[in-house]
């Protein structure tokens, strides 16, 4: 019997149980099947790495010791777990490394980042937090949720539909152990992401918000400022390249013929959205760093965005 789940604006029907996404009774868009996947990619696909090959409708991925995946016709994902694989790891790759490129192929724009929903003085702001791997997207999201009453819309993949609005992910946030300790999170809400990795799924429950809405601000997190926090606003055509760099697996886009649709969707999703760079301090004091970043961000939001709203009215 298939289990149906809603994530990123689509419904998955899976032959095996998934832990992260919300259960739904809506009819499925994508079918996940336990089936044989060839050990080599079909010859008509173009290789994008030693373990991945793609066309505009198909995608083959081999994750050694975890599973082989094959996306066929944009609506089916065949999964063949390796004999000793744990299903938490299979789900992790399925919902990220496989579903991300598939959503791109389905003409969504998938950004590598987090979206949080933040209320300041009664006004809702939705922030897309981007930046290179390990810059602290999920960690800073966890701080905003834990300390500033923000709510999570999406973690790791931020999926924008053809209208340029973000579609929520699942009520979990992946964080490193040191961050969970710094934020003093309740251990009962944490489970290991996968065996032998020092990273946890934070089950955030009611602090997740299922919604489809526009993003008000893009925050490009940059690493290693000295001990200061700086905000720099990027405007006009200069926004394009930094935003393109945040597309999930953007190296696949050219092979799959997606560059034009991504360009259009970046315009729809972020054309009129302010984009700022927010430098993360180099200090090893995690909480202190986040407090400085949070303060700078709140000051910006209060001064710039509320100011802009006043200008319009």
């Amino acid at each position: 019997m298939a289990h149906n789940y809603e994530i990123y604006g689509v419904v998955l029907a899976s032959e095996f149980e998934l832990k992260a996404p919300l259960v739904t009774d809506k009819s499925p868009d994508i079918h996940i099947k336990l089936a044989n996947v060839e050990s080599a990619p079909p010859s008509h696909l173009e290789s994008v790495s030693a373990f991945a090959s793609i066309s505009n409708t198909q995608f083959w991925l081999d994750v050694p010791n975890i599973a082989r995946f094959f996306v066929a016709d944009l609506d089916t994902i065949n999964v063949q777990p390796y004999p000793m694989a744990d299903m938490d790891s299979v789900e992790l790759y399925l919902l990220g490394a496989v579903l991300g490129p598939l959503m791109n192929m389905r003409k969504y724009l998938v950004m590598h980042g987090n979206v949080v929903h933040l209320e300041i003085h009664g006004q809702i702001h939705r922030l897309l937090l981007c930046g290179h791997s390990a810059v602290g997207k999920s960690s800073f999201s966890a701080y905003l949720i834990n300390q500033c009453n923000a709510r999570l819309v999406a973690d790791d993949l931020a999926v924008f539909n053809s209208q340029g609005v973000v579609c929520s992910g699942s009520p979990r946030l992946k964080i490193w152990q040191d961050v969970s300790q710094a934020l003093q999170l309740d251990e009962a809400e944490l489970t290991p992401v996968r065996p032998s990795v020092n990273k946890f799924d934070w089950h955030i429950g009611e602090r997740f918000i299922s919604e489809q809405a526009s993003v008000d601000l893009v925050v490009l997190l940059t690493g290693d400022n000295e001990n200061t926090v700086e905000i720099e606003e990027i405007q006009g055509i200069k926004k394009l390249s930094p935003l393109q760099n945040q597309i999930f697996r953007k190296e696949f886009a050219k092979t799959a013929g997606l560059e034009k649709i991504h360009f259009i969707l970046i315009g729809k999703s972020f054309g009129h959205t302010p984009v700022i760079k927010l430098g993360r301090p180099r200090s090893s004091k995690i909480l202190e760093n986040f407090e400085k970043m949070g303060k700078a961000l709140f000051t910006y939001l209060t001064n710039e965005l509320l100011g802009a709203t006043r200008d319009k009215s």
């Binding site: 006009g236 055509i237 259009i264 054309g271």
Partner: protein, 96 residues
């Protein structure tokens, strides 16, 4: 074909563009380069949402910007012919 004051011009139908704030950003045919238009150029692009005769375009611009008719015509023709060369606009098919 050179664009003159009587030409009717329109955006190139195959061109892909996006608005980035006040700027219009266009993707090149080979999808490898991007061109940004701001200020008056962006305004002209917005006006070309509908095909326009160059004379009419010039009159509308004079209503918005402080510029003499001669200067407007001269600058506009230079700009539009450059845009045509870059395949961003074209002469309306009825007239080509």
């Amino acid at each position: 074909m050179v664009i003159d004051l009587e030409s009717k011009v329109q955006r190139h139908p195959d061109l892909v563009f996006a608005l980035m704030g006040e700027e219009v950003v266009m993707m090149s045919e080979d999808q490898d380069n991007y061109l940004g238009l701001n200020g008056v150029a962006s305004k002209i692009w917005t006006m070309l949402e509908e095909p326009h005769v160059v004379n009419v375009l010039c009159t509308k611009l004079q209503q918005e910007f402080e510029v003499s008719k001669e200067q407007c015509e001269q600058d506009l023709l230079f700009f539009l012919n450059d845009m045509q060369q870059k395949k961003l606009i074209q002469i309306h098919p009825d007239e080509a």
